[in-house]
């Protein structure tokens, strides 16, 4: 009985989360973050973590740069992958002048003075992000040209 009742409660909690419908928009440009459909607000409110996955995830290391234009400058693959996957967060941090993504990028590019790097990125914001449609390769190439 106990298990049954707990189960009923959890069915409510679970079924709601199912409707949340996560769709991950991957891309090489800005605006590729996880979007949650907010249509079922009441049900969503009950949401529990179901951990349903749409099947595609594997154990291998998948590259986040699939389909992205490669950088002109020689750049390590992991840096490209990181930037492609963190476009919005990185842009925001560069605008603000500090943050974990900047530090990570500095580490990947073997930049020793992280503080100076962050300041320089901020200063060069306009040349790094030349438009709202900037992609990973633009960003990294522009960083190479202006701050490295």
């Amino acid at each position: 009985m106990k298990k049954f009742l707990v189960s009923i409660a959890a069915v409510v909690a679970l079924s709601s989360s199912v409707m949340a419908g996560v769709n991950s928009q991957t891309g090489c440009g800005l605006g590729s973050m996880i979007i949650k459909d907010n249509s079922t607000a009441v049900l969503l409110a009950l949401q529990a973590t179901t951990n349903g996955t749409s099947g595609n995830q594997t154990f291998g290391i998948t590259s986040g740069t699939l389909g992205c234009q490669k950088t002109k400058f020689v750049m390590n693959e992991q840096a490209q992958e990181f930037v492609a996957s963190n476009m919005d967060q990185l842009a925001k941090e560069i605008a603000v002048g500090h943050g974990e993504c900047i530090e990570t990028l500095a580490e990947l590019l073997a930049v020793s003075d992280k503080v100076a790097f962050a300041a320089s990125l901020q200063e060069n914001y306009n040349s790094i992000y030349t438009s709202q449609n900037a992609t990973m390769s633009d960003v990294l190439d522009n960083i190479s040209a202006t701050t490295l």
């Binding site: 189960s7 679970l14 079924s15 002048g97």
Partner: protein
């Protein structure tokens, strides 16, 4: 001739090793049984590919023999070889039996993953509850494998999830199958930044990282074993064989001396795995990552009252960023905060599909460009809140005594899970409650009665702010003594309302339609006003007054006041006053109870 000789030789050596393994009684060793995920001699892995012996799932000895056989008589020598698929088994057998004549194999895939992960240490990650979703308190835990990089963003998360596509399944069916093992659970490795996007940014959950004291060697040992589960299937059970449970196996495989699974016999609540890890002494230190919501609330704090709505105006495009940057009255740091908050808010809106991508990109670009032009500023500092690891545990046993209408009365109660508003909120999300099966009996005048028997109760009081216009809600199903009649009756209710708060306290107003199933069905609508004073970590004061209007025309007043003290992590003292108006067969009367309760949590 040579070939035949070799085969004979290998067979002979396999035979010798098996004999030696038998002498050493290896099949009964803890580590071998860990590698097989054996519980009482039967493996929890539900996949034939995981076993070499036909009866491998239930026979550790024959699985050991057949594994030795397979390792020494490889038929393929690439990623599909036994050695490449089962690196932990191989390493252990090599060590135990001093095997030197393994065939040469080349494990490209594994080496690639090992190189990328570059495992150095392990962190147990707990995303805490998200607002308006107390069910998520049950949360989730996963392991993060830290690399040699300083940046934790470059580490990988070991993810375990039911292999099902929620979008393509009937929602109820999905839930039922998830609960009762209708899906296979599957492991994957994901970059940690992807998990952060999911939990911290999209779901607005604060994240706690508990760094474990596993060594590099132990971490690699763990990874080898995780690798063995690659592509294998096991049934996924929401309550028992869930994400958090499987992490326990991995940690034990990393260091067999730790016994985490023994802390659990029934369901596994993810936070409880953190408590178990603490008890086993494997947590070294911890790190807190505020959610996007927490960050935005901090900005609300930092931005002066008069500018508070500006970020909203910017995101709605009611004003442009130059209205702020060119404004001479606003000081520079305030401008920075305003623009930073606007960008965060914009991202939040976008992640909730409340703004189109085109519009988002345009605004994001304009706002971040404007912010960059203002140069470096103050970094926002978010104070680390009480750590969930210090919060009370799930099972509550309570003893109480007091006076009801002049007669002495005793109480005894038990609740398997999990947290209510009157429990110490230390380490929990403010204003949330979720309770399963809360039972309490009272004893007075030689008579035992049901005081309450809650099946499920959820409360989510989400404080409203300039940026977050949350609704609050609550629901309860079970028996309580708040009905007009004297004895406990079954209540069902779902209500909504609002809540506001500051660092001192929060208040709420709720409207709760409800029904009672007593001897007959009665319905009512209730209105409640409450105040929860929770500034101090070790005490809280809760007041609630409720007026109910019944379909019979009867009106009822209920008042509930409690004062709680947190004596330690798992001990709490509570003083309660209860006032209930009652009406039985046209006689109306009042009931007053004073009581004191001792709550212990396990």
């Amino acid at each position: 001739m040579l070939l035949i000789f070799c085969i004979t030789f290998l067979n002979a050596s396999a035979h010798l090793y098996k004999q030696k393994a038998q002498e050493l009684n290896l099949s009964q060793s803890r580590y071998w049984n860990l590698l097989l995920h054996n519980v009482d001699g039967v493996s929890e892995i539900d996949d034939e590919a995981f076993f070499f012996a036909k009866d491998g799932k239930s026979n550790a000895q024959s699985e050991l023999n057949d594994t030795i056989e397979a390792l020494l008589n490889e038929t393929v020598f690439d990623d599909n070889s036994t050695a490449c698929r089962f690196p932990a088994r191989k390493a252990w057998l090599k060590e135990q039996l001093n095997i030197i004549d393994f065939p040469k194999t080349e494990c490209k895939e594994y080496e690639k993953v090992l190189k990328r992960l570059n495992p150095k240490s392990v962190t147990l990650v707990f995303p805490s509850a998200h607002i308006n979703s107390p069910a998520s308190m049950f949360g989730h835990t996963f392991l993060r494998i830290n690399s040699a990089y300083d940046s934790k963003l470059l580490s990988y998360a070991v993810n375990y999830a039911a292999d099902a596509n929620p979008d393509k399944e009937n929602a109820v069916l999905f839930a039922i199958k998830g609960l009762f093992g209708g899906y296979f659970g599957k492991y994957s490795l994901l970059p940690y930044y992807d998990k952060l996007k999911e939990y911290r940014d999209s779901e607005q959950r604060d994240i706690w990282e508990y760094n474990l004291n596993l060594s590099e060697e132990e971490t690699i040992k763990m990874l080898k074993h995780i690798w063995e589960l690659n592509e294998t299937h096991s049934y996924y059970y929401f309550f028992t064989e869930n994400c958090s449970y499987n992490m326990l196996w991995f940690l034990e495989a990393a260091r067999p001396e730790i016994h985490l699974r023994e802390y659990f016999n029934n369901q596994i609540i993810p936070l409880e795995t953190v408590h178990a890890a603490k008890a086993e002494g494997i947590i070294k230190d911890n790190f807190y990552r505020p959610s996007k919501r927490t960050t935005l609330l901090k900005y609300e704090d930092l931005i002066k009252e008069e500018y508070q709505t500006i970020p909203l105006l910017l995101v709605d495009s009611d004003i442009g960023q130059e209205d702020i940057t060119l404004n001479k009255d606003i000081d520079l740091q305030q401008k920075r905060y305003i623009l930073e908050a606007s960008i965060e808010l914009l991202e939040y809106r976008f992640s909730k599909s409340k703004i189109k991508k085109e519009q988002y990109l345009k605004l994001f670009y304009a706002l971040s460009k404007a912010r960059a032009a203002l140069g470096a500023g103050e970094k926002i500092v978010i104070k680390t809140p009480p750590n969930p690891i210090e919060s009370h545990q799930a099972i509550r046993v309570s003893l109480g005594g007091g006076v009801r209408d002049g007669e002495s009365i005793g109480f005894i109660g038990i609740r398997p899970a999990y947290h209510d508003l009157e429990d110490s909120s230390y380490g929990f999300l403010r204003g949330t409650q979720i309770e399963f099966l809360d039972f309490e009996l009272s004893y007075s005048q030689n008579k035992a009665e049901i005081e309450k028997a809650t099946i499920l109760s959820i409360v989510s009081l989400a404080q409203r702010s300039d940026f977050f216009k949350n609704l609050s809600w609550r629901t309860k199903f079970g028996w309580d003594r708040n009905s007009p009649s004297e004895e406990a009756a079954f209540i069902g209710t779902v209500g909504i309302g609002f809540s506001w708060g500051n660092e001192l306290a929060y208040v709420y107003m709720m409207t709760d339609p409800l029904f009672y199933l007593d001897e007959k069905y009665i319905s009512a609508i209730g209105g409640s006003i409450g105040l929860v004073f929770d500034k101090y970590n070790n005490m809280s004061t809760i007041l609630e007054t409720t007026r109910r209007w019944y379909d019979s025309g009867y009106e009822q007043q209920l008042v509930n006041i409690s004062q709680t003290f947190r004596a330690s992590q798992n001990v709490q003292l509570k003083f309660k006053y209860d006032y209930k108006e009652k009406s039985d067969f046209k006689t109306e009367y009042e009931e007053n109870s004073f009581s004191m309760h001792l709550n212990c949590y396990f």
